[in-house]
Amino acid sequence: MIMVRAIVRPEKSDDILAALMDAGFPAVTKYSVAGRGKQRGIRVGDITYDEIPKTVLLCVVNSEDKDFLISTLMQAARTGEKGAFGDGKVFVSEVNEVHTISSGAMEGGDTISQEETAS
C-alpha cells in the first residue's frame, strides 16, 4: 500500500475532496499547514510572504491505484488550463501495514510476519 500526501491550495480542497469521492477514494484525512515552494514564497512589492497557507490531503490506497489517484488529484488541484505556481505537490510513500482500529483487521504486513502480530 502507499500513502499519498498532496499539498494543495486550501480553496481547492472542497473540489478535490469531491473529485476523490467520485473517483472512488472516499477515505481522506485533511490538515492545514503553512509553507513555501521553489519560488521562495510570494513577493508583493517589498514584502515577501513565505508562509503560505496550504492544505494537506492524506490518502492511503492500494499500490495499483497510485496512478489513477495521482491523475485525479492533479486534475482537480490544478488552477487554470496549464496550472500555476503554488498549485502544490504530491508525495508518495510506502506503507508497510494498515490496521483498522474498530475491527482489528490488518492489511499489508509483508515486512513483519503475522505470527508476531498474534503474540
Binding site: 500513502m3 469521492m21 490496521h99
Partner: protein, 124 residues
C-alpha cells in the same frame, strides 16, 4: 525504524497519551485533522456537531462529511512497532466505525537536532 501514524477519535487522545507513556513511549506528536473514511459513519456519533461545536458543524459539507480527528505520529525502532500498534488498538477500539486507522511506514533516518545523533540513537 518505523513511523506509526494513527488517525483516532479526538476524545481518545488523553487515554492514548497515558497508555503510550505507561508503555514507555514518551515521544510522539499530534495534529488536529479532519477526515472521512469509507463513508459509512454512524450518525449518532455526530453528537459533537449537534451540541453546536462550530468546527464540527463547518466540516459537514455536501461531499462526504469530514469528521474531526487527531493524527498521532510515533517514530520507533522496528522492535517496538508491534507494541505501539497493540497499545493504540487497545486504547482506541470501541468497535464502531470511525475508530480510525493505523499506518506503519518505513523511515530511512532520523536526527536529534540538539546533539546531531542520527539513526536509532536519535529516537532512543
Amino acid at each position: 525504524m518505523k513511523e506509526v501514524i494513527a488517525v483516532v477519535r479526538m476524545n481518545k487522545m488523553n487515554r492514548t497519551k497515558e497508555a503510550l507513556t505507561r508503555e514507555g513511549i514518551n515521544a510522539f506528536f499530534a495534529h488536529e485533522v479532519q477526515g472521512r473514511g469509507k463513508g459509512l459513519v454512524d450518525e449518532s456519533l455526530l453528537q459533537g456537531a449537534e451540541q453546536g461545536i462550530p468546527e464540527a458543524i463547518s466540516l459537514l459539507g455536501e461531499h462526504g462529511k469530514l469528521y474531526p480527528k487527531r493524527m498521532v505520529t510515533v517514530v520507533v525502532p522496528d522492535s517496538q512497532v508491534r507494541k505501539v500498534v497493540r497499545v493504540l488498538m487497545e486504547v482506541n477500539s470501541t468497535g464502531s466505525r470511525g475508530d480510525g486507522k493505523i499506518f506503519v511506514l518505513p523511515l530511512s533516518d532520523a536526527a536529534r537536532i540538539r546533539t546531531g545523533e542520527t539513526g536509532e540513537a536519535a529516537i532512543a
